[in-house]
Point group: C2
Chain length 385, copies 2
């Protein structure tokens, strides 16, 4: 089979270089079923520079704007958007509009999570994709993480019985009161990329995926406990300014899933406790319990995670081995690589589409709306005595 022709939006060695870190390694690796034949960066010069920087063939098309890419959409089987979240909508919309009227049928448009800055943008992108007739994918790649899949497999096997409750505790790194200057943008809530949208979005996605349900009823609590953020310039080695932020650095959810299980979830900003567990995720069932511990909460980007299973009947703990078939790739590139494999192999059940992405935006939106309406009930017990 001829490799799938792929246009990549956002391949660069500057900025967060996420595409270079997480997408490029698989796409250039031996098992890749793709060939990068088009690039779109913020300018024509930047696109041309990337062709050189990443040693792509001179035949690679370099575009200067989303409209330019849109005009040549038919040269591609797959279009991938991996730019900063606030650029998702302006980068993708012209391309999707160029395919309006079902002209994109048979093509795949793949976007990094979050799908745009907010629910509104996600909905518009979803509609535009439907009108273009394209299939869609979202990088909620935690669902491809072997540790997550192993938890899901154990839960589905019935080995720990019906799941009664699950705790998830982690810290995000971001949101600790100081950010590097190249990440200053995450302090602006409306920009749509931060601990809540990105980290909560990813973690809640794979937690729900593994547990096999949606939130049925819940209470949430978001708060910004560090409203002042120091912006640190690495090259100068000093704090260059202090900015205000309204981005949540504390995100709590407790409630019931549609499966009946209780979920207690707390993701906060700032440093993890070094001696750990940095991630503590437990899945407590009628007959046993799974414990997942590791160096970070965001399993979507991969992590050397430890899985243990406690069998209530025997009292034994079993260390569960998690296979990593993609060891040749760097950690961040593995789950993204599995997404590309699933697409190339026609493994449609594994594809996570923009409806799923929009659903997660709807959850984030719901939590923001509840924040406005008042999240917690006033305690009255003290005055009752």
């Amino acid at each position: 089979m001829a490799p799938l022709r792929l246009a990549l939006i956002g391949l660069s060695k500057s900025g967060s270089a996420w595409a270079a870190t997480a997408h490029h390694p698989y796409l250039l690796s031996a098992p890749s079923k793709y060939t990068i034949t088009g690039l779109l960066n913020s300018s024509l010069a930047s696109s041309q520079k990337a062709v050189q920087d990443f040693s792509l063939p001179a035949s690679t098309a370099a575009y200067g704007s989303p409209d330019d890419l849109g005009r040549e959409f038919d040269r591609y089987d797959v279009i991938v958007c991996s730019v900063r979240v606030d650029k998702h909508y302006p980068s993708l919309m012209p391309v999707l509009r160029a395919m309006e009227g079902g002209k994109g049928r048979g093509k795949m448009v793949h976007c990094e999570w979050p799908l745009g800055r907010n629910l509104q943008e996600a909905k518009e992108l979803l509609v535009a994709a439907e009108e273009a007739g394209v299939r869609t994918m979202i990088s909620l790649q935690g669902r491809y993480e072997p540790a997550v899949l192993k938890v899901k497999e154990i839960v589905e096997s019935g080995r720990i019985g019906k799941v009664l409750s699950s705790d998830f505790i982690g810290a995000g790194g971001l949101g600790g009161g100081r950010e590097n200057s190249n990440m200053k943008w995450i302090t602006t809530r409306d920009l749509g990329g931060n601990l809540f949208t990105i980290f909560f979005g990813h973690t809640m996605d794979f937690v729900l995926h593994a547990l096999g349900g949606e939130l049925e009823s819940y209470n949430s609590l978001i708060d910004t406990k560090r409203p002042k953020v120091e912006i640190f310039d690495k090259s100068l080695g000093e704090v260059v300014e202090t900015v205000d932020t309204k981005v949540p650095d504390q995100i709590l959810v407790q409630g019931h899933l549609t499966t009946g299980a209780i979920l207690s979830f707390h993701l906060r900003g700032g440093a993890s406790f070094p001696s750990g567990p940095k991630l503590l995720w437990r899945v407590y069932g009628e007959k046993g319990e799974i414990q997942i511990t590791g160096p970070q909460a965001v399993l979507n980007v991969g992590a050397p995670t430890t899985l243990e299973l406690h069998d209530h009947a025997t009292g034994e703990i079993e260390n569960i081995t998690v296979e990593e078939p993609f060891e040749s790739l760097s950690m961040y590139a593995r789950n993204i690589g599995r997404m590309y494999e699933a697409l190339a192999n026609g493994d449609d059940s594994k594809i996570i589409d923009w409806k799923e992405a929009t659903k997660h935006h709807a959850l984030i939106d719901e939590i923001y709306e509840r924040e406005k309406a008042g999240q917690s009930q006033k305690a009255k017990y003290v005055s009752a005595v």
Copy 2:
């Protein structure tokens, strides 16, 4: 100073033998400033038997009923009630009524937590104590636990800065779907002694004490995920019956304290994860974080707990030493012993009175009322797409 004359309600070698385990060791130890001069058990014969079983002087008064003890209240400086929770009210009320009109002034009445089965009983006991003129004490002895005091000391010192959030995760042992037959009573919600009233009451008390605030606003979630409980007869080595229960085996609270800190609290029934942390309690501040781990959540009964402090500025972890001045006593007796010491030494600021106990009953009552009214908000995000 002459030792304080103490009447003990509930000293027995049968039943849970809590008084024998937790009260008696200190009272008989060298540093004790008390002498047990009266005993009240469920019958005169049982009281007399306890005098012999515990080798008390023959002069020890043995009572057959609370009224009998009430008639001789003036022979005692301290009256201690350490019986099963549903017997608190019927054991104490006649004694308090005998002292009505301020006749109990100068005396101390000490009750195990919970103060009666529910808020109503607690309020009545509180009023009766006020009418009797007695001082009151409640065994919320977690506030005497050295690890708890150390957390409080560090928080107050400002060493970790303002506390931003705290997580508390533990499992209670009870509420795991099987109870020994002598504990069958804990499966009856109205009886008032169970994972929620006893374990939650104690743990929330010392958590709030260490963090230095009350709940300002919160959402709670209680549920009975194991509504069938096997009753296991140890002597027969088998399950003798299965009973229904409405006692919560999942207790979750998330909210803000009056200090502004966020609290995420989850106590569940059943076995802890053996490789731990069985207790995980973190106190995350602006400048550092305390981590408390140990073999059990109920620090009120004592536990060989590990305290670590992460300094955000240096990245260092310090192991915090916790002194245990009462090593000569068995673990369960230490915090109770410290309560007795505080009373004998006139250390009034350490005395936890029945107002505090009633406040905790009001919190439990509030959570039960919220359960009736609907605890969580319905999720709508799935249908929003």
